[in-house]
Symmetry: C2
Subunit: 216 residues, 2 copies
Amino acid sequence: MDIREALYTTRAMRRVKPDPVPDDIQARILDAAVRAPSGGNAQGWRFMLVDDKDQIAKIAALYEECIAMLWDTVYKDQVAHANTSDDPDAKQFKSIMNSVTWAQENFATYPLLLFAFDQFDTTGGSIFPAVWSAMLQARADGIGSSLTSVLMFKNEETLDVLGVPTEEGWRMSCCVPFGYPTGKWGVAKRRPAHEVSYRNTWGTPVGFEINEPLWP
Amino acid sequence: MDIREALYTTRAMRRVKPDPVPDDIQARILDAAVRAPSGGNAQGWRFMLVDDKDQIAKIAALYEECIAMLWDTVYKDQVAHANTSDDPDAKQFKSIMNSVTWAQENFATYPLLLFAFDQFDTTGGSIFPAVWSAMLQARADGIGSSLTSVLMFKNEETLDVLGVPTEEGWRMSCCVPFGYPTGKWGVAKRRPAHEVSYRNTWGTPVGFEINEPLWP
């Protein structure tokens, strides 16, 4: 697969089938992850693949609670707006809510979870390139994924289920469920790059406009 | 370019030529960045391309001080070890030190910097996928890059040079210099995936060994 197709079409795929992710694909996912850069090439990371049904069920129960907490806290205003409006923002948020609610109700059917852990990475810059590489490599093998940090709401409980030695400084960075998607790949809608980019100083236009995605 | 070639060969390229990065490549870099996922698709990001020589010179002066601080703090033990030992860790660290020292001495010659900013992203999970996409897209166009968060040591001064409205919650995530590499692309050495990966619980072997990179 061309790099640009992967970069443009690896969108959040929460709705996936319960079919297992083959071992050779799992190996490629992890091997791609460790090729990513990390500060000082320290590779202060650990990855955990979870495919045991009992373990996934335990995480699913925590995820369910976390999502309820998410709507009630971080996204409280957006939930209220989505429930009372029909503007584009509300519509987009409703679509994400539907997708996340699907994940909440079906988390236990995910065939494979990837947890990433970091040690002393204060910015996330030494772990999320690796996580994103894992997701891009999966995409090349037809496997969908979605990145979530919501389990942070039940951080202690999650680390306990996974047996993480927090006394050594290991922290959960995120959880990424993988699986064969039920839907189609496509280019996700985004605010155009020139609307979120500047040149040389904040507020100065970047110098070009990109009104349509540059791929395909 | 194949996605796997990009994932395996986009290593830190600090030594790059002063030749400018063409506009069409700059546009592709930013357009690829905004395709990345972010929590709740919030896209709480801003990107800044810096190619003005005076601005780059100001950042170069700050970078020089930050690197000196880095050796003196975070990497103090590793610097001492590298200077007194010849074991593989010491050799690898010396090689990184040489590369970073090159950047320190030549920062002002970089033709293009990309700064990424985030707002309310506590983990980095909503900005570093975008930054890594930018670096992978650049790789596909033959442009090298390296990710650094070291300017955090002079955070206030850097944000001041760039005119960032911190009162709105914007924070610098990282700086990525871009340019045509002077050296060769290659697969970076990493600790094998199975040595940093577990299955289902911490410490349980992942179930396969990957003793050679799975690409090419």
